[in-house]
């Protein structure tokens, strides 16, 4: 029997029971739609989170004091015996090949007073390389100047929100600002950067790291951030940094985290999340599959005559098996297609209705879902189709 004929025969059988086929198909459609919708949301969240983390560029390596051992990283703020990372360490890392920038980082929360107003905000102690490491842009004035260690002047660069809060539309350049008892002169304002996981990146003040150490009365840096040339493998740069710092410290008492590692881990976690929600949708798909088994079993019973007739007309057992399997697969595949449209449509509508909710339909998942639907049809059809193929034609023709 020609394949196209088998398909047509199966389709005719499906369309001759419109309501029944539609309802069966709906079971699969709902399952597939659920899978599509849930994975769309999962994938959307995945992309959103990764985007948040990569907005500073992907070629960043962070170095923090203290070696992460099996006990985990010592929580910051609690005194540790780990040797401190110093301004000199940060400066030394600038010399490593492929490294394009290295900024010491110290941060804290302080009251910033200027123009007669007061605001509690996050204060970062960094150096001139910060602008490049975190791909920030200066709106007016300039960023912190490049200075030799030990002679950093008391300058401050404001985040755009802090500037608005303190100075409004006035020109803040040259104004004096007091942070934790020390006076700073405003030399620049950064362009707005938005939020990162709910933290306002524009409600900040940037001062030289040396001054920040003074403000917060710290001996060592909290972190050093290093950027390296695009295209250079992060592991190579990380190894060079490790080498250099070990030489300076005498042992490995620091932790290097490349953003690549971090993103990979994060991406893996989010992938598992997407798969997990997809599997939840899969449960409804299984229910749909049971519906197909039911309807196909009924169909075989109802069409006993037809099966006997087909055998009498010279259909081979395999042909009968194929016809009923084909019907089951076709039913499921049609349901899958409907679910695909339903799911993707709902995802799109969600995107329109709730622009904040990250939704993205991953088409490989959609394709996977369609293949899954067809496989469920195949699986669901096996029992009824085998039953059909094994019918005794004499009995089948006799039943009235």
């Amino acid at each position: 029997m020609i394949l196209a004929d088998s398909a047509r025969y199966a389709l005719q059988a499906i369309t001759s029971y419109r309501l029944r086929s539609f309802l069966t198909l709906l079971g699969i459609a709902v399952g597939i739609a659920a899978v599509i919708l849930l994975t769309s949301i999962g994938e959307g969240v995945h992309r959103y989170v990764l985007k948040e983390f990569t907005q500073f560029g992907t070629n960043v390596i962070g170095i923090s004091p203290g070696k992460v051992k099996t006990g985990g990283q010592p929580p910051s703020g609690i005194p540790t015996t780990a040797r401190l990372l110093t301004m000199e360490d940060a400066a030394a890392l600038k010399q490593i090949p492929h490294v394009t920038g290295s900024t010491p980082t110290v941060w804290g929360n302080s009251e910033v007073e200027g123009n007669g107003r007061l605001r509690r905000t996050t204060v970062y102690g960094v150096d001139a390389d910060f602008k490049q490491v975190f791909s920030s842009t200066v709106r007016i004035g300039s960023f912190l100047p490049r200075e030799t260690t030990g002679s950093s002047r008391a300058f401050v660069v404001l985040g755009s929100k802090l500037r608005n809060e303190l100075f409004g539309s006035e020109n803040p350049l040259g104004a004096r600002v007091r942070i934790g008892g020390l006076h700073f002169r405003v030399i620049g304002v950064l362009a707005p950067k938005g939020q990162f996981l709910g933290i306002d990146l524009d409600d900040t003040a940037f001062i030289p790291a040396e001054r920040a150490l003074e403000v917060y009365n710290r001996e060592g840096l909290m972190e050093i951030h290093v950027t390296y040339a695009e295209g250079v493998p992060s592991s190579k740069v990380a190894a060079a940094i490790k080498e250099r710092l070990k030489l300076r410290h005498g042992r490995e008492d620091f932790t290097i985290i490349t953003q690549e590692d971090m993103l990979k881990t994060l991406s893996n976690i989010l992938d598992i999340l997407t798969m997990a929600v997809g599997a939840l949708g899969g449960i409804s798909l299984v229910v749909g599959g049971v519906g197909i088994v039911t309807i196909m079993t009924i169909a075989v019973t109802e069409r006993t005559h037809e099966i006997g007739l087909l055998v009498a007309m010279g259909a081979r057992r395999r042909t009968v098996l194929g016809l009923f399997l084909g019907e089951s697969v076709l039913l499921a595949a049609l349901g899958g297609l409907m679910g695909l449209i339903l799911g993707a449509g709902t995802a799109q509508m969600l995107r329109l209705a709730l622009p904040d909710l990250p939704v993205h339909t991953p088409w490989n998942y959609a394709l996977g879902a369609e293949i899954m639907a067809a496989s469920i049809g195949l699986l669901a059809g096996v029992l009824p189709a085998r039953h059909a193929a094994r019918l005794d034609p004499i009995e089948a023709l006799r039943t009235e």
């Binding site: 004929d5 005719q12 009498a312 010279g314 023709l397």
Partner: protein, 227 residues
């Protein structure tokens, strides 16, 4: 040369604990172009004989030669092929597929045999024309009268040009006049050289055949063909 040659055919069924001898030592020879009526009371083994001739059933013992070929030893797939190409069935209750049009019903055997669509269309329209069903081609069985339904079934049985037509009570569900038409149709086919074997209760229908087999308790009690 004979078309059908049965020798020493035995067939028993198990009904509960008791064995039923449906066919016992059947020896039968039918030559091409014969018109045979198989008669006898219910349970005499007529239908079993017909099923056996149609390769829907296998004998427990004995051999069945169809066109000088031992068909009892064939594999199920080979038997399916013989059914497809050499045998046409006509049933009492027509057994048309209700969701398919008359044309599609006639087309079924051709489709199962894997004949290409262009050739199928040609043969189907010819068959419908032969049986006066051209204007009924796109009607479904429920829209056809009993006589028309049986004509569709006969068209379906003959569209593959079989050597033998096995008809099981072909007029059983028809009134006398339409039954008469159908029998005339079948006899017309026989006149063209197709071997016709009809199983019937109906004495008058049976009497029209050139050869009568009367079965009793699974054995051939009388065979008018054996002189």
């Amino acid at each position: 040369m004979s078309l059908i040659e049965l020798s020493g055919i035995e067939r028993t069924f198990l009904l509960g604990d008791s064995e039923v001898h449906a066919l016992r030592s059947i020896n039968l020879s039918i030559t091409p172009g014969e018109y045979v009526a198989v008669m006898g009371p219910s349970g005499s083994g007529k239908s079993t004989l017909l099923n056996l001739l149609g390769l829907l059933d296998r004998p427990d013992a004995g051999t069945y030669h169809l066109e000088d070929r031992d068909v009892t030893t064939l594999t199920p797939d080979e038997q399916a092929r013989v059914r497809s190409e050499r045998i046409g069935f006509v049933f009492q209750s027509f057994h048309l597929v209700p969701r398919l049009t008359a044309a599609a019903n006639v087309e079924l055997p051709l489709m199962l045999a894997g004949i290409v669509p262009a050739e199928r269309t040609k043969r189907v329209s010819q068959a419908l024309k032969d049986y006066g069903l051209t204007d009924r081609a796109h009607h479904r069985p429920e829209q056809l009268s009993g006589g028309q339904r049986q004509r569709v079934a006969i068209a379906r049985a003959t569209v593959m040009h079989p050597a033998v037509i096995l008809a099981d009570e072909p007029t059983g569900n028809l009134d006398r006049a339409t039954g008469e038409d159908v029998v005339t149709l079948l006899e017309g086919l026989n006149a063209q050289g197709v071997t016709l074997i009809v199983v019937t209760h109906d004495q008058t229908l049976g009497a029209r055949a050139r050869r009568q087999l009367v079965m009793e308790d699974g054995a051939i009690a009388r065979d008018s063909g054996k002189g």
